[in-house]
Amino acid sequence: MFKKVLIANRGEIALRIVRAARELGVRSVVVHSEADADSLPVLLADEAICIGPASAQQSYLNIPNILSAAIISGADAIHPGYGFLAENAQFAEMIAEHGVTFIGPTPENMRMLGDKATARRIAREAGVPVVPGTDALESVAEALAAAAQIGYPVILKASAGGGGRGMRVVHTPDGLENAVLQAKEEARAAFGNPEIYLEKYVEEPKHVEVQVLGDGKKVVHLWERDCSIQRRHQKLLEEAPSTLPQEVRRGLTGAAVKLAKHINYQSAGTLEFLVDREGNYYFIEMNTRIQVEHPVTEMITGVDLVAEQFRIAAGEGLRLKQKDIISRGHAIEARINAEDPDRNFRPSIGKVETVLWPGGTGVRVDSHLYTGYEIPSHYDSLLGKVIVWAEDRQAAIKRMQRALGEAVVDGPGLKTTIPFHKKVLDNAFFRRGAIYTNFIARRMSE
């Protein structure tokens, strides 16, 4: 095992890694910006090194200063957390050149899965279903032929597009010709490039992701998480397991292991799928890092994912066997963000004057808050995560309602997503598991 780990992150995930390191007997060095100098991970770490001013570009993304911090502190490993440098293959290579181990996948793993097109190709090679679609369309006739083969509805997307712009859903062949012409025009106007392609439109999908662990040879899955409760592609509430039928769960997790094995995946990773109402699942992308919502998987399996990342990176190999990883009960995570749900989730900053986290049976809290903490304005708005476990989904919902009911995170002008989560938990569609990626837009806006 490593002697000293440098943690190149901040907030709750930096604290999560400090905790894992301490339990493994590894000393921790937290690097931080000036704005995070009095943050909880900095205070609880064995060592802390300031690496730059508040701006993430000059601190948490400042590779030379982070690497220098590793060298002067004598760290033999770096854990990147999520975001920032977590999926930067070049960073992983650079630190390896200095004899420091990257706690995460290999640079090759990251590069193969780094862009969606390559990831799709690899999935097809591995025999894992992806959303059926075309390359750039040459003609309307080609679009009609492809749509006929794939089946309606289909969606037209700009090759240069992103963020939902320039998309157009077509339900019947009648509308396709016009739609292609209009979508090309829109794409040209919006992105200066008229190229478009066509994909099957997955209606009201669930966003379900499979957690895997690999050591470069063996791969196991730790079941799936349902992360359909999203607002503008930002996950807000996650649960494990999903409410999908057993055979779909088996299919999904099997596909995930197949893909991860195909590329000799190392460390913790997550394969994201869209699942339609018939239980068809389509691989979208793989996140080659620990994720914000990893605790729900820890709660149902009893596995400490971050500790396993350490063990794998230290060359101890994968010690878990698939048959020992049992999905037990149900877990839900609510992300507590400093955002005002009544004002379009506008970020809310300020001083935290009162913090009272929930406790008791089946409740876990991961948060870097403390009474008197000033929320910096430079980073994301995640203040902490409340995670509950109970014997089944209904009991977990009640437990989360109880837990959020006793949570207090308050300060002058400070707003959080706690009231929003309470509304979600109270929603009849949510309660019966009728959750799709459009849940918030469709069921929570009035």
Partner: protein, 162 residues
């Protein structure tokens, strides 16, 4: 802003014999006038917190952490040299006073330095980065030992501008 902080400010005013105080920030505005109003000054509640910090030995830091009362970096107070300016580390690395092991130091206490003059080297990722003074004046104190690691923003020299 909480009562403790107000109290700290008031105590600071007494300690500093301040009679009136006005404090405006984006979040609040505080104005205080004491007994025989004459002067106006802004208190330094931060200094109170800094004293407590020194009581905590670094090795037991994690065990005794009380976040509310700690300030981050143990920056040496510039107060031993009023009016002095700090030259701080712009990058993380190892501090060297000399260009080579057998060479003379770039600067010594008492030397005059000009803005832009090289005062030390910080080694980072096997590169030697020359650090220039941001101010012209006289070196009053060198705050870091030769060969010591430094973090971003750490004060290296105290310079009396002239």
């Amino acid at each position: 802003m909480n009562p403790k902080e107000v109290k700290a400010i008031l105590q600071a005013m007494v300690a500093t014999d301040t009679n009136e105080l006005t404090l405006e920030t984006p979040d609040y505005k505080l104005s205080v006038r004491r007994a025989a109003a004459v002067q106006q000054q802004i208190a330094q509640p931060l200094a109170v917190a800094a004293t407590q910090e020194q009581d905590v030995p670094p090795q037991t830091r994690a065990q005794t952490a009380e976040p509310q009362q700690q300030t981050p970096a143990e920056k040496p107070a510039a107060s031993d040299c009023p009016g002095c300016q700090e030259i701080t580390a712009p990058i993380v690395g190892t501090f060297y006073r000399k260009p080579a092991p057998d060479a003379e130091p770039f600067v010594n206490v008492g030397d005059r330095v000009e803005k832009g003059q090289v005062v030390c080297i910080i080694e980072a990722m096997k590169l030697f980065n020359e650090i220039e003074s941001e101010v012209s004046g006289v070196i009053k104190k060198i705050l870091v030992e030769d060969g010591e690691p430094v973090e971003y923003g750490q004060p290296l020299f105290l310079v009396e501008p002239a």
